[in-house]
Symmetry: C2
Subunit: 146 residues, 2 copies
């Protein structure tokens, strides 16, 4: 019973903060995404929640993820390939991307990683919130195959 979930109250506050209605569907999608640690796609989220919650349609999952990412409640990732991936702002991290097979790995940010924002290049009026580094390369598997 989602509405009796103790987390629902704080979720209601979160939504109010952004002027959004705190629907059960939004709560379930948000909770499911927060539990998943592997940058799921909209479809992966739907498949995960559907067995327990037939009350959420696939359509709504797409729409809710879009709404939430526009409000920056969740994050829309820039993965390679042709499917949009999401995450729920867990811990900040960078990406390791194999240009051969397209696989993506997370790498945590390092103390002293020495990435600063080169403001000299950022046009006036653009408000930078965050940065992500994508490392392109070849993964061990693909190296072995070639």
């Amino acid at each position: 019973m989602p509405k009796s979930d103790p987390h629902f109250q704080s979720f209601r506050k979160l939504c109010a903060q952004y002027g959004l209605a705190a629907t059960i569907q939004r709560f379930i999608v948000y909770q499911t995404l927060a539990e998943m640690k592997n940058h799921p796609t909209a479809d992966m989220i739907y498949e995960r929640l559907h067995p327990e919650h037939q009350t959420v349609s696939r359509m709504s999952v797409y729409r809710i993820l879009d709404t939430f990412s526009r409000h920056r409640i969740i994050r829309r990732l820039n993965h390679p390939g042709s499917v949009t991936h999401y995450d729920a702002f867990m811990e900040p991290h960078h990406h390791l991307i194999c240009v051969q097979c397209g696989e993506v790995w997370d790498i945590s940010r390092m103390e002293g990683e020495n990435f600063h924002i080169p403001t000299g290049n950022i046009p006036d009026g653009f408000q930078v919130l965050d940065l992500t580094v994508d490392f392109q390369g070849i993964c061990p598997n693909c190296l072995a195959e070639s």
Copy 2:
């Protein structure tokens, strides 16, 4: 007549270097991409070259871009949204991405930008070839609207 194009000879060498056949279709796709400076999608490239070159099918554009990106002759970009974008390794650059509207701008790399590869975080056996920094933020237009 593509084959009489003076650039075709150097393109032939490029392909030979990677063990790829230097077909007219590949040449046209490559040339078209090199002319386009805005990270086009496969479809945008097809629409651009089609009026002049009916001899290249949409299917081939997708396949050629995939082949070339696997060989790192071109680059497959990690844009937000659900369509794969490409560029032709013109000049190295980073990206400025508006999380609100999804628009992307290039920013050139800076002398002294101070991005080094933190090898401590890269798993053994992964060969890093390049890195790109994505700056997430809000563009002036979207800032004005909200």
